[in-house]
């Protein structure tokens, strides 16, 4: 069912790399927005999981990043851009279980090599662009039923 909104709703959040204490704050705010708009519960779960994984990637790997979103009557588009090390081999990074995370990140419950696969699994469209030494950009959409 299409959302009853007059025009697309846009927003963005800054994400600071390495800050585990506030990890998930941006995803939580986006989730609250979707709940407030009455988006389908299953879509909210998909969007929240995919966004949280992307937010964690920025926190783990990058100095900083930006999460932006556009909510239209029929879908949500989420974009995450970071100033991180970039991904050398995107195809390899998309494989479940592949991770370059250091041990201290794994000790904090992350770096299982499921981040990108999880974003892909929870999206209707999913695109990764990355330049080594410059950063990574992820775009994903979730359609409303």
């Amino acid at each position: 069912m299409a959302l009853d909104i007059e025009k697309p709703i846009e927003g963005s959040f800054q994400i600071i790399g390495g800050n585990f204490d506030t990890a998930g704050a941006a995803s939580s705010q986006l989730k609250s927005k979707l709940v407030e708009l009455g988006v389908n519960e299953e879509v909210i779960r998909h969007a929240a999981i995919a966004t949280f994984e992307a937010e964690m990637n920025v926190i783990i790997y990058a100095a900083a990043g930006r999460l932006s979103y556009v909510i239209t009557p029929t879908y949500i588009e989420i974009k995450i851009e970071d100033m991180g090390p970039g991904i050398e081999d995107i195809e390899q990074a998309m494989q479940e279980g592949y991770s370059t995370a250091p041990e201290w990140v794994r000790a904090m419950g992350w770096g299982a090599g499921m981040g990108l696969p999880n974003m892909n699994k929870n999206s209707d469209t999913f695109k990764v662009d990355s330049v080594v030494g410059e950063g990574t950009s992820i775009e994903m959409t979730m359609n409303f039923p």
């Binding site: 585990f20 794994r106 992350w110 999880n118």
Partner: protein, 116 residues
């Protein structure tokens, strides 16, 4: 299975008070890696974990986890407990290890999130 029953089976302490112990939970998963929880979980389940980091609460929030059991008497810090309170997520702590805690609940009829 109610949270009260889960608590009894696991000899658990309730970490955050004023929670609904009659809350009904129908499946569970055990993990320390949060992406694994989000990849395989089903909503409205119980998370059994040894990880006591604030991001566990965020994971539960995003994934729709209903309640969390910390194994081996792990004591989460005040930040985690406060965040759980804000998100209405009950926290329990059991002296059992993850294997035993999971086994006790499975034996009592609690199915896995995955159903296998």
């Amino acid at each position: 299975m109610t949270l009260k029953e889960i608590s009894r089976l696991l000899d658990a302490n309730v970490i955050n008070n004023s929670i609904d112990m009659d809350m009904d939970i129908q499946s569970a998963c055990s993990a320390d890696m949060m992406s694994t929880v989000m990849y395989y979980h089903t909503a409205n389940s119980l998370l059994i974990t040894g990880l006591a980091q604030p991001s566990v609460i965020r994971t539960a929030e995003m994934a729709g986890i209903k309640a969390i059991v910390f194994v081996l008497d792990k004591k989460p810090d005040a930040t985690l407990i406060e965040l759980a309170g804000l998100k209405d997520i009950p926290l329990l702590s059991t002296p059992y290890c993850m294997y035993t805690a999971s086994g006790k609940l499975f034996e009592a009829g609690m199915p896995s999130c995955l159903g296998k």
